[in-house]
Symmetry: C2
Subunit: 259 residues, 2 copies
């Protein structure tokens, strides 16, 4: 191939790749959802399995728990290592618990199996964090306007649920508002139950932390702004989100004030 | 503590630990089942995600697929590295597919995210293999008689499903036969459907590969031998499985011959 041809080909491919960035986003969003489920499942097993050896160990954070499992040896406990993970105070508490643990002692091979499992689980948590950061960057790049209005993680979920950026951009605000609440919506249409007030956008801090009676209003307002932002991201590529956000904040203040 | 006291304590703990080995087995059996589900789930995602870049790649073995994902770069393909994974012939096939791939080219950061994911998935497969080997060793140690008659993996599942070795040993052969088919059994009792012929023991090669009409007979015979083996493992600790197996094989030959 000639140089010009090669350049042309590279350009086409780049354009094509850009057009397919929402295909990637759909994968990372769904992949993240699955990784959450998977790490929860493996984490529950770890707690049950390790409880044979040291049932008194507790940590709310499952990643910290997995790190502690790797560090703790009832014989010859390395408290300094624990301190690196949970700080001096909690490390001392754990050391005291080890002293009077009612768990049974395990042979090294039995303990090593649990430790290998805990190590892989910790690494899965780290992978999840990496993919989450990557997903945020993807969303900021692909749909900067929606990301600015709705936070990148939520923006990514909306694009994924809609099946792509163009599809989301072509949806009316009322559809955006209940996107992800299809089950409740169809129940409403079929059995005449109450319609859902919000779908995925419920995850927005402003909605989930507001009093119930104004959630519907905020959801409608947010959905309107997202619908406009999506059109900008998909078609004009202009960054208009700052203005949208200012207007949104003003109206939110009014809704909050009217309570 | 005095030396004698310490020794006494160590002895008690060892005994206690031995008594709890079926508690460990229950964890590893359930953990293995979950790891199978988890790796399947992550593997499907990997195939879908990677198909954006290289949809033509195929390998039936999901672990091999994950290794290939890590090795393949469309630009500057290292065929030798592929050969190490799948041999010369298949590596050449993949190289040809790369040449005319219809997948879109990805930026390094996009490809790296998939590769990190594939790497962790491969490591989960390796963890699964390690725990499977450990589980086999546990079963051979805890219930050598059942393991000899029914293969260690199946023996482990039976102990886990029964809720421990003693419980399994106290079950009549007819219960052992349908262990793991509780759903079909209760349906039979409630709705008078056909009773299940076999539960977990269906996984035994002799049953799953035999003609349907003699499966029930083989299952009954196998369950009888397992029930006896379980009593030996739980109570007498004598190794009687060789004799049991000889008798089993003789009777199987008769069933097969009578077909």
């Amino acid at each position: 191939m000639e140089r010009r041809e090669l350049l042309e080909r590279a350009r086409t491919q780049l354009k094509q790749a850009y057009a397919h960035r929402d295909r990637i986003l759909i994968q990372t969003v769904n992949g993240l959802g699955e990784l959450t489920k998977v790490t929860n499942l493996l984490s529950e097993r770890l707690r049950e399995w390790y409880a044979i050896y040291f049932p008194e160990l507790y940590s709310e954070d499952p990643k910290v728990y997995a790190r502690l499992v790797q560090a703790i040896r009832k014989e010859g406990l390395d408290v300094q290592q624990l301190e690196k993970i949970v700080g001096a105070k909690k490390a001392a508490e754990i050391a005291a618990k080890v002293e009077r643990s009612l768990g049974i002692d395990l042979e090294p091979k039995d303990l090593n199996a649990i430790i290998s499992y805990a190590k892989k689980l910790e690494e899965l948590y780290i992978l999840r964090e990496e993919i989450e950061n990557y997903n945020t960057a993807l969303a900021n790049e692909l749909c900067p306007n929606i990301s600015y209005i709705a936070e990148p993680q939520l923006a990514a979920k909306l694009v994924a649920r809609a099946g792509g950026l163009i599809r989301l951009a072509n949806m009316p605000a009322s559809t955006v508002q209940v996107l992800g609440a299809e089950k409740a919506l169809f129940k409403h249409l079929k059995k005449n139950t109450k319609p859902p007030k919000h779908g995925l956008i419920f995850q927005h801090a402003l909605i989930s932390t507001s009093p119930k009676k104004i959630r519907g209003k905020i959801a409608r307002l947010l959905a309107t702004k997202i619908a406009i932002a999506a059109k900008a991201d998909a078609y004009t590529k202009n960054f208009i989100a700052k203005k949208l956000k200012e207007d949104f904040d003003k109206k939110i203040a009014r809704i909050m004030g009217a309570q």
